[in-house]
Amino acid sequence: MIKPFDYAFYSLYKLYLDTEKEEPSNIESASYSISIFKLSFILGIGILTGAFYHGSLSEHLGISKDLFKVLGVVALFLYAALDKKSYKKRLPEIVKKYKNHPRNKWFKSWMLVFVGLGFIFIPIIIVKSIQGSI
């Protein structure tokens, strides 16, 4: 079964391979780009869940807004670092799995930009329409 984020990573890695020389920094670049992609996904989830809560998350947790920001950024940074390590380790397996995947025929890397924007704007539209109908 296809894993969407793994496939997105593969298409980004392939993009770097096609446009630049084969070098270790391609994995870094691809994993950095996939981290940004995942941030938009997390933002979408945050928008959807945040719509059902009154007040901010920091108030719910009983911590200051600045501390919440620092903790959040550290958590995301650690997650991205672990993610990069994981992709480095699993790269041969991912390449083998998706190299001849039928989706490669029509899926292009630039489409990920619209998928990322969709992660952000679709939850906003959903939340707005729910609030509008209430």
């Binding site: 870094e28 941030l39 945040g50 719509a51 920091s58 920001k69 950024v73 995301l76 209430i134």
Partner: protein, 113 residues
């Protein structure tokens, strides 16, 4: 960009690729990307916590994307960063903060408070 005059009198421009290659990989490939991710993460947490997208989020997010473009983007991003710090030091509010105050309302909000 710096211009230099060749021996035959024709001006030669220093290519941006020359500047890019002159900057070490450690900076261009690692630190700049990590800083970009860090800035994106701060914006994300701010948006999630406040339940709204303000003009400053869009401007700062746009600057992160622009700063990802080698050399020219670094110059624009760096200039914006310095201008932001200077504005904060002089007026007590960042460029984004001033724009937010001028617009007064968030661009998008999904809180029903």
């Amino acid at each position: 960009m710096k211009q230099k005059i060749s021996s035959v009198g024709k001006p030669e421009l220093i290519k941006t690729s020359t500047i890019k290659s002159a900057v070490s990989n450690a900076f261009s490939e690692n630190i700049s990307k990590k800083l970009g991710f860090l800035s994106g993460a701060i914006i994300l947490i701010d948006v999630i916590d406040d339940h709204e997208v303000r003009a400053s989020h869009i401007i700062n997010g746009g600057m992160i994307i622009v700063a990802g473009v080698p050399v020219v983007g670094w110059m624009i991003g760096g200039s914006y960063f310095l201008a932001d710090i200077a504005t904060l030091a002089i007026t007590g509010n960042s460029i984004g903060g001033h724009i937010d105050n001028a617009i007064d309302e968030p661009l998008m909000s999904w809180t029903d408070d």
